[in-house]
């Protein structure tokens, strides 16, 4: 995966969470993720199309998601609340939207977000697109951004790009 796709997500998640949730995010080293099961139980998913294709997932443990959404909305909110999924979707929407603005010379559209809540769920990804997981730490708990995107014309990707992105 092109490292130029990963750095925008790192700065975007920090920017979005700082501005909308007043939460500082510490980024850990990105890693290649091989299994399709999401890391945690709450997933906000956005699809990308155009010159860059694939999907982006913000994956949270339920308790961290509830704390983050409570801060974001200004209302006490558990995962049972009717607006919980909407709030998660809006967070992944803003993270993805902000990130894609930094994809140089590429025309990219993002989908409306989807949210999946449940233990051990799996999100399908195109097999030819590797998934890079960026662990994030915050005072509300850990979460992860899982990025499976590539140039529409790309034929290959390199794992060495992952460490380049973390530098």
């Amino acid at each position: 995966m092109n490292a130029d796709f990963i750095r925008p997500f790192i700065s975007s998640v920090q920017n979005v969470f700082s501005m909308m949730v007043q939460l500082q995010i510490t980024i850990q080293d990105p890693v290649i993720k091989t299994e399709s099961k999401t890391t945690y139980d709450v997933s906000g998913i956005i699809g990308l199309s155009g010159d860059v294709v694939g999907n982006v997932v913000l994956s949270f443990p339920t308790d961290a998601a509830e704390r983050i959404v409570t801060l974001f909305t200004g209302m006490e909110m558990t995962s049972e609340h009717e607006d919980f999924a909407d709030a998660i979707g809006e967070l992944v929407n803003m993270v993805s939207g902000n990130a894609k603005a930094d994809f140089k010379d590429r025309d990219v559209s993002i989908s409306c977000p989807s949210v999946v809540i449940g233990h051990d769920h799996t999100i399908g990804r195109p097999k030819e697109i590797p998934c890079v997981a960026i662990p994030c730490q915050s005072d509300c708990g850990d979460f992860v951004i899982e990025i499976s995107i590539q140039d529409r014309s790309a034929n290959s990707s390199s794992a060495s790009d992952v460490s380049a992105a973390a530098a």
């Binding site: 979005v16 909305t73 607006d83 809006e90 929407n93 993805s96 939207g97 902000n98 993002i110 989908s111």
Partner: protein
Amino acid sequence: MKILLVDDSRTMRNIQKSVLGQLGHTEIEEACDGQDALSKVWAYEPDLLLVDWNMPNMNGLDFVKAYRQKDKTTPIIMVTTETEKSRVIEAIKAGVNNYVVKPFTPDLLSQRIAETMEKVSA
């Protein structure tokens, strides 16, 4: 001032309503997408519209184009994650008066509303 808020995310509508409330604006109608907005806007007659871009059923840009066919003057602020220059130009050509990028601070939204209404009254 009557404001129409168009966003498929109830979270974002609530956040914007809260900011608008702090600014003293309490006459607010909500729509969850472009089609919903079109069904409400003519009866509601807002003084200002805040419109998201990416929405199901009818997106914000298509709503703005449809709205501007009949109303050329009521100010519209696009509140969206779309930041590319080409998108901004597309929105302005469609008839948007101002632009707020998500994420935004309450101060920024307030500033954009003030700017927009000042230009309209000038």
